[in-house]
């Protein structure tokens, strides 16, 4: 079971509003993602550092857990069926992995042509992935931390108001060496960010051996 010992801090960084970030997370390290000011969606992609063709799979993760939302204890599964990481702490309780990331193109379809030239998560992902030799091909369905997307029995699917309060955090503990890529979502057309993107903080800790 997850350790409640937060371990000792080896890295900390404030990701400004709307910006991307990436870093290799070693097996056993825990990434804490902190919603510093609240109501901020954090989009994330995860790759096996040793072979980036192996990456986070939203559908495999949902199938294995039998449920549409991510929560404390969720195993994050790769497209090769391996456990990449686990959610080992969570003070928010609402995370999505079905809604994907915002893009200029999907914004234009959802909200009208006038939103095409707003900065979007997919632009962030493409730029950040390019630093690691990866491309648009490598963008699959991502995790959306602190994003509340209830799916009704009818299929109705709505992004609701950002559910996190200032200082809420989620811990992700790596089960293999991971390339962890974040887009601090710039979306201003739906309530996932309270219509006002804000900074987040990431911290990496060496977790005590389980």
């Amino acid at each position: 079971m997850p350790s409640t010992d937060p371990g000792h801090l080896v890295y900390g960084f404030d990701i400004p509003a709307e910006r991307p970030w990436s870093r290799v997370l070693k097996r056993g390290q825990t990434l804490r993602i902190i919603d510093s000011e609240g109501e901020q969606a954090v989009d994330a992609l995860i790759y096996a550092a040793a072979d980036t063709a192996e990456r986070y799979s939203a559908q495999d993760t949902l199938r294995v857990q039998g449920s549409a939302y991510l929560e404390l204890g969720t195993r994050l599964i790769s497209n090769r069926g391996r456990v990449m990481a686990r959610i080992t702490a969570d003070t928010c309780g609402r995370h999505d992995t079905s809604a994907g990331c915002c893009s200029c193109e999907s914004n234009a379809v959802r909200f009208g042509e006038a939103t095409r030239y707003l900065h979007a998560c997919r632009e962030n992902f493409i730029l950040e992935l390019s630093r690691h030799g990866l491309t648009k091909r490598d963008i699959v369905s991502n995790l959306n931390f602190f994003m509340n997307v209830p799916i009704e029995p009818t299929g109705n699917f709505t992004v609701l108001d950002g559910p996190s309060s200032p200082g809420n955090y989620v811990d992700v503990t790596a089960e293999m060496d991971l390339l962890f890529v974040i887009s601090n979502c710039p979306q201003v057309n739906n309530p996932c960010n309270g219509f006002d993107p804000t900074p987040i903080r990431v911290e990496i800790r060496e977790t005590a051996a389980a």
């Binding site: 497209n79 893009s103 999907s106 091909r137 369905s141 299929g155 699917f157 201003v188 006002d196």
Partner: protein, 269 residues
């Protein structure tokens, strides 16, 4: 930006979001399901017919305007599908955008399947079922091992094989849609399988809105409790269609559809 103008922008954006949601979820423009004996295909419209045995996959190339009928002949199959744009396979099916843009995880007649570029790959022009899965995906080596105690033919392996045969790899395999997989979520978010929503002879007609390479896998859905008996052949019929009417339901079902089609049509203008 001043605090006051920021608050005004936020209020205007919230108003627009709520209006779009109300419009997107009213659903009144969507047609009833196709009858099981409805929408016959004229013999001279058929381009190609194929039966896919249980556990197997195939790849079909569709030209813009052609359709693929997928038939669950025995009511025991689920059919997972991926699609790439022929001229640029980096453009491909995007289940997340398909769900998010249409405000619904329920795929049915009148809806569209979107690419990652805000364009329409496939339109669901006929559908007897309305019970398909965009969230959970196909079977894998692990899902069959835990269900049957052995690794059997599975959708993940099928898609790797199908992709390899057209020069693509694991990086090109995004989440898939699975037809005839009646999965919903309950109030707690748990997945529920509705066996009663499967019928022998269920079919969908998918109209290609751009030139596509489509991979189809005929494997039991991992949530289907009827496995492993739930294995039967499926039939694929590639067929020609008349050009869509100006009031074509898929093109006009919503503001989102109108915009997605406008962007798609620009590719061929």
């Amino acid at each position: 930006m001043s605090a006051a103008s920021k608050a005004e922008r936020a209020a205007a954006n919230r108003r627009r979001y709520e209006e779009l949601r109300a419009a997107g979820q009213e659903l009144k423009q969507l047609p009833a399901p196709t009858a099981l004996d409805g929408a016959p295909i004229a013999a001279d419209a058929v381009v190609q017919t194929e039966q896919v045995p249980p556990g197997w996959h195939t790849t079909v190339r569709l030209s813009r305007g052609e359709a693929l009928r997928i038939i669950d002949d025995h009511g025991r199959s689920s059919v997972s599908l991926l699609a790439w744009r022929s001229e640029d396979p980096t453009e491909r099916i995007n289940c997340a955008d398909t769900v998010k843009v249409q405000w619904s995880a329920a795929l049915s007649k009148g809806r569209m399947i979107l690419s990652d570029m805000g364009r329409v790959l496939l339109a669901v022009i006929e559908d007897t079922s309305g019970a398909h899965d965009l969230l959970v995906g196909g079977s894998t080596a692990d899902s069959t091992l835990s269900a049957y105690g052995e690794v059997t033919r599975n959708t993940q392996a099928n898609f790797i094989s199908a992709a390899a045969k057209i020069g693509l790899g694991l990086r090109d395999i995004p989440p898939c849609v699975t037809f005839f997989a009646p999965v919903t979520t309950d109030a707690a978010g748990r997945f529920v399988w509705h066996a009663a929503r499967k019928h022998a002879g269920d079919f969908v007609d998918l109209r290609a809105e751009m030139n596509l390479i489509v991979a189809v896998s005929n494997c039991a859905h991992p949530l289907d409790p009827a496995r492993p008996a739930a294995t039967a052949p499926i039939t694929l019929i590639r067929h020609r269609l008349p050009p869509p009417a100006v009031d074509d339901v898929c093109r006009t079902a919503s503001e989102e559809a109108v915009r997605a089609y406008a962007f798609t049509d620009q590719l061929f203008a």
